[in-house]
Amino acid sequence: MFEIKRKTSVSEVRFDPAPSKVAYLANRIWLKKSSRRSFFIMILISIVLFVLIGLSNRSNFSLLIKKNTEKISQYVELSPIFKVVNLSVISEDPNVIEKISSTLALNFPISSLDIDVEVLRLKVESIDLVESASVRLTSNGLVEVDVNIRKPVAIQRLGTRLMLIDARGVKVDEVLSRSQRLDLPLLVGKGAEKCVDEALHLLLEIKDLLSRVRGLVRVGERRWDVILNRSQVILLPEKNPLNAIRKIISLQEGQKILDRNISYLDFRNINRPVLGLSEETSKELKEIRSLVRGENV
């Protein structure tokens, strides 16, 4: 017993396997090697053209990108994660704090994305008072500035201006009058700021006489003069002024030399110190000598 079933009903629309005229022609064209090649060449050319057109419109294009990215970046920048609300300066000196905040001049709140820490650090370090600084952003929305303040060790007088300088001779601040910082020694003369260290050492050696020192004068950018009250001047040598000072101090301790009526002590040549008397004293000395020797000078 065999069974044969009818495969399709009459109403069913049969699929026509024949290609349409256009499809057939397209297939034949595609099979042609030359047309296939030219098709790829055309694609290549169109890509190149597209790129060229794109490049020529580049400014517009980038503007468009900028416009859109600005919106996005604004949205991101203003998000609370990146918000910076305040400045904190680690320092006890209110003067310093005020100076730094006025220098940085940050308009809070700002986005942390806009802050360049390095730039801020350079800005802070440009302040005279600050020797070095470190700036960082903290997670709770603060700009933290840690500063290393310069310490003034001396006052330098330039013309009529009085400067506070640190040990390296860098200007720290300016004062209006000497009396504001009586605790600091006064340095005068061209090039004095370059040898602050030496000057300080000299003053340390002077010890007891310190109360009498009015200031140090740099002479010809090579040696120091120590100015004492009562118009006394000590001229120190170029080389090894400390030795000279020690010698003077020992003379002072032994013979109270500086208590006497002299106008200067010339120690420029340490082997041949010169003692200068004041005019009055030298006259007196002459009189005494003539009295003692009976000579008429």
Binding site: I4, R6, L31
Partner: protein, 443 residues
């Protein structure tokens, strides 16, 4: 107005040779049941294995390979002729595109074979005096030109004009007369004509598929080339190509086709008979025929019941012997017509060398061999085409005999009269019986 075919045949030959030199040619066999497209690649380097050539008449010097094969159910074709142009074009487009896809190449030149057009065969004789006693190609051309044209009718076209025999003075049966000496050269020409409109339709269909026609051939002739063995072609044999719409008849002798004709009946008529007899649809009838068809009924066939859907959706049951009872008369009719045609062609004059080879799709009917033996009254065999390199096994059956023959023909075609130097202008008319008789008497 399209030019007469014989005037453009030289052009077609040139195109075919160019295509073969380029190494690529397409073959389209327009049949009533299916349209086949082969793409052949000619490569002089291919070494044809001895296994393939054994016992087969593979043309020498030309090695080819089938690189693309496609078949489709034929549409708009009836009796081997294009009936509906649009449908036929669609079918051709389908096969061409599928074959192109398989081969991956663009098909440009095609050889076309068809079986319709009511072919008629004429045997013609042409004679020329030899000028310098040695036969040259020009002499052959002259002889061909001197032959009398038969009055084959205004609306018919010559499709084959094969010089089948040459004789010089009283020597005959020469295959190649060139270089022979003598005083008179006679050429026997086998002329085949078909209906003009059929040819024009085919040319039109091929043209509208953007293909270049490189040759037109008669399908039963090609079936004979592919299905007959060399001995059969040489010693004389008939080939009956039992197609769907047409049963082509060809007779071969001395390596030449000497007769071509056809019976306008085929496998499709059998299917129609089944469809009518059991009132089933055509598709179902075709399926019954292919699966259960036969010609010799035995007592067992009464009990072989086949259940089929009929037109009105009811299942009907038919026995196999009933089916055979429907198929057999039609096949007998076809074979009787074939026998008659062979007789008219003088096939019976071949005496004890009569042999018939059956090919074509319908030749696969079981029992055909016995029936044909009885009706044709001569030794019969069912022939399959020879194997061709690259051809899938499924397309190597007897139903592809014409297509395979076309492949063989493409590489190694028979000389036609227009391949000679002088184009023929006039041809005489003679009955085919005359040339047959002449052959038999002189051979």
């Amino acid at each position: 107005m399209i030019e007469p075919l014989y005037k453009v045949q030289r052009k077609l030959t040139r195109r075919r040779l160019n295509a073969v030199n380029k190494g690529l040619i397409g073959l389209i066999d327009i049949g009533s049941s299916k349209i086949v497209c082969f793409i052949l690649q000619f490569t002089p380097d291919i070494k044809v294995s001895s296994e393939l050539t054994e016992g087969a008449s593979l043309p020498k010097n030309v090695a080819f390979r089938v690189v693309g094969v496609a078949t489709t159910r034929s549409r708009g074709v009836n009796f081997g002729e294009i009936e509906t142009m649009d449908e036929a074009q669609k079918a051709i487009r389908t096969v061409v595109q599928a074959a192109q896809k398989m081969a991956g190449v663009l098909l440009e030149d095609v050889l076309v074979s068809f079986s319709g057009g009511q072919p008629r065969s004429y045997g013609i004789c042409g004679t020329t005096k030899l000028a310098d006693e040695e036969v040259t190609e020009l002499d052959i051309g002259n002889a061909l030109m001197n032959s009398d044209i038969p009055d084959y009718g205004a609306n018919r076209e010559v499709i084959h004009a094969l010089p089948v025999n040459f004789s010089i003075d009283d020597r005959t049966g020469l295959i190649d007369p060139r270089g022979h000496r003598g005083s008179e050269l006679t050429v026997d020409l086998h002329l085949m004509t078909v209906d003009q409109s059929v040819i024009h339709n085919i040319i039109q269909a091929i043209k509208s598929c953007h293909l270049d026609l490189a040759g037109l051939s008669f399908a039963p002739y090609l079936s004979g080339i592919s299905s007959l063995t060399e001995d059969e072609i040489n010693l004389g044999s008939a080939c009956v190509d039992l197609g769907a719409g047409i049963s082509g008849v060809t007779i071969f002798l001395k390596k030449q086709m000497i007769y071509g004709g056809g019976v306008r009946m085929g496998g499709r008529h059998i299917t129609k008979d089944i469809s009518k007899a059991f009132s089933v649809s055509f598709d179902v009838a075709e399926r019954i025929k292919n699966l259960h068809g036969g010609l010799i009924s035995t007592s067992r066939d009464d009990r072989d019941l086949i259940e089929v859907d009929s037109h009105n959706q009811d299942k009907i049951t038919i026995s196999r012997s009933e089916l055979i009872g429907v198929i057999r008369p039609r096949v007998e009719e076809i074979l009787e017509d074939v026998h008659e045609q062979l007789n008219v062609a003088g096939f019976s004059n071949l005496h004890n060398n009569k042999k018939v080879t059956l090919t074509g799709g319908t030749s696969q009917l079981p029992g055909l061999f016995e029936l044909a033996n009885k009706i044709l009254d001569c030794p019969v065999r069912v022939g399959k085409p020879i194997r061709v390199q690259g051809l899938p096994h499924a397309t190597n059956g007897p139903d592809f005999a014409a297509a395979v023959g076309l492949a063989l023909h493409a590489g190694h075609p028979q000389d036609e009269c227009w391949d000679f130097q002088v184009p023929f202008s006039r041809l005489g008319f003679k009955k085919i019986n005359g040339i047959m008789k002449w052959f038999v008497e002189n051979w």
